[in-house]
Amino acid sequence: MSEPVSPEALSTASSTRAERFRRERTRLGRRADTLFAGLTALAGLLVLIILAYMVLTTTNVALPVFRSQGLSFVTSATWRPADGQFGILAFVYGTLVTSAIALVIAVPLSLGVSLYLVEVAPRWLRGPVAYAVDLLAAVPSVVYGLWGVFVLLPLFLQPAAEFLSRTLGFIPIFAGPASGISYFGAGVVLAIMIVPIISSLSREVFRAVPVEDRHAAYALGATRWEMIRGAVLPRSRAGIVGATMLGLGRALGETIAVALLIGSRAEVGASILKPGYSIAALIANTFGEANPEGIRALVGAGVVLFAITIMINMAARMLVWRMVER
């Protein structure tokens, strides 16, 4: 096996073997490496630049409203653009409540789906079901919203809301009069929307648990459930939190489906069975007819939404760190 050597290198009698190699590497390898490193660094930097630019410009647009409203921008629930009153508390509240409802429903469901697919389902069934779950993630959110309004609302949301207020109405969060068009209705549809992403990610997390861990549990006489609880779940905690956060991110920002189902009433109410409003839905619904100051307020609401997602993500990141440390 002879090395490909350039003609010049061969003709230069004095050049040693080592020098030849160095020269070849200079010509081909090093330049390509530098180029590659530069391109990837640029891509990475671009993300940071776009992010910083977005934060600065949106905050800048919204600044007059932040100044005129002060802290009441986030602490007041009075939203009257005609009177120049912009309090987004009701929308913040609606965003958090619908997302919380979505998580409460979607996390157990998603973990169930992915545990079934990784640990229980017969091999031939795993691929098709996993594929079907992943397909759910590809359905556009407006389709979820319309399906929620025209199919799920009469079929399930309205009856379920009425049932909840009838049986658990004495608890304030389930107080009537119950409506399917509500925090609850929007939360349920959000849950369905985020199941695919949570279950698809937690599936990978569960699959990454080493087979040695599973065997260790089985060899101690664990049943399948005991093996999952003892070996799979402890290894997966950090990953499950990560999957949940990505689902939550989608739920917080979801616009159309929530706008169709939440009822668009700017109130902070205790009951989740009553109509409400969310930041994203507010922006989508009122952006078109807003006056210049209203537009600044809407952009400000967007900045707050962005801040909420960042804070929740940082909290989750800290939670994961603490888990890993233990």
Partner: protein, 286 residues
């Protein structure tokens, strides 16, 4: 898998092997009686016609070159092969006279009586304490858990090293400590057999010596079956040795493990009856 299904041929082989092997001590019936054991993975043979006996409070070593089915064999003793899709076991594995592959036998129950330690230390990502307590908890242990954890760790010769960090993660221990923790974890279930699948192969020489010393201690109370690719280890620690070897069918493109010789360890290493055993233990291959 009951007696009716065992062919006459297999019965003869079993009898022959039985007479070849060392006679069981009086009043000490075998812990395991293996007769005509075979394993197929997805229809392909992996192990054929193995018959041997495991005696109580002895260390039985399984040796042989790579791919001869040592791990497959030891995994038959606690039905771990059930976890491998497509694995089929034929023949008999009697545990104190009871066929553990009989219909209606729950592998979970089998594994609660027969502990196992694996090649790579595999503690759970939990505290040292919770690792040891895991098996006892799922078995519904009612006694004093602290006492059981301490006793198990002492028996695994690990107590003094970890008593101050019982609540720390087991993953922070060294490899050798992790492996002894896995032994403590197996002991805490109070089995009467411990299976060890190359327990020292991922450890350094000092940790290996500690595991070997520990095995001699454990032998007082438990029957131990150990798979090892290290002949010196088998010679050092075991009372009896089974030598497996790979048979090849060139025409069919298949290979599987067979039991070549089973007997007292001193006989296997000093007076092997089979040429292949002699070649292997004298280091001519493998």
């Amino acid at each position: 898998m009951n007696e009716n299904t065992i062919s006459l041929e297999e019965n003869i082989t079993a009898t022959e092997r039985g007479s070849e092997g060392p006679a069981p001590a009086f009043g000490a019936p075998s812990v395991f009686t293996v007769r005509g054991l075979g394993v197929h993975y997805g229809g392909l043979p992996a192990l054929r016609d193995v018959s041997l006996d495991v005696q109580p409070r002895e260390i039985t070593a399984i040796i042989g070159p790579s791919g001869c089915g040592k791990s497959t064999l030891i995994r038959c003793f606690n039905r771990m092969n059930d976890l491998i899709p497509g694995a089929e076991v034929s023949g008999e594995v009697l545990y104190h006279g009871e066929d553990i592959y009989a219909a209606g036998v729950d592998p979970v129950t089998v594994r609660r009586r027969i502990g196992m330690v694996f090649q790579r230390p595999n503690p759970f990502p939990k505290s040292v304490y919770d690792n040891v307590a895991f098996g006892a908890r799922i078995n519904g242990y009612k006694g004093d858990m602290d006492e059981l954890v301490e006793r198990s760790l002492r028996r695994a010769a690990l107590w003094d090293e970890v008593k101050s960090k019982l609540r720390k993660s087991a993953l922070a221990l060294s490899g050798g400590q992790q492996q002894r923790l896995c032994i403590a974890r197996a002991i805490a279930v109070e089995p009467d057999v411990i299976l060890m699948d190359e327990p020292a192969s991922a450890l350094d020489p000092i940790a290996t010596v500690r595991i070997e010393d520990l095995m001699q201690e454990l032998k007082q109370e438990y029957s131990i079956v150990i798979v090892t690719h290290n002949m010196q280890q088998a010679a050092r620690v075991s009372d009896r040795t089974a030598f497996l070897y790979t048979e090849v069918d060139e025409a069919a493109g298949q290979r599987w493990g067979i039991l070549v010789e089973f007997g007292d360890t001193s006989d296997i290493f000093t007076r092997p009856r089979d040429k292949r055993t002699e070649d292997y233990v004298s280091g001519r291959f493998g």
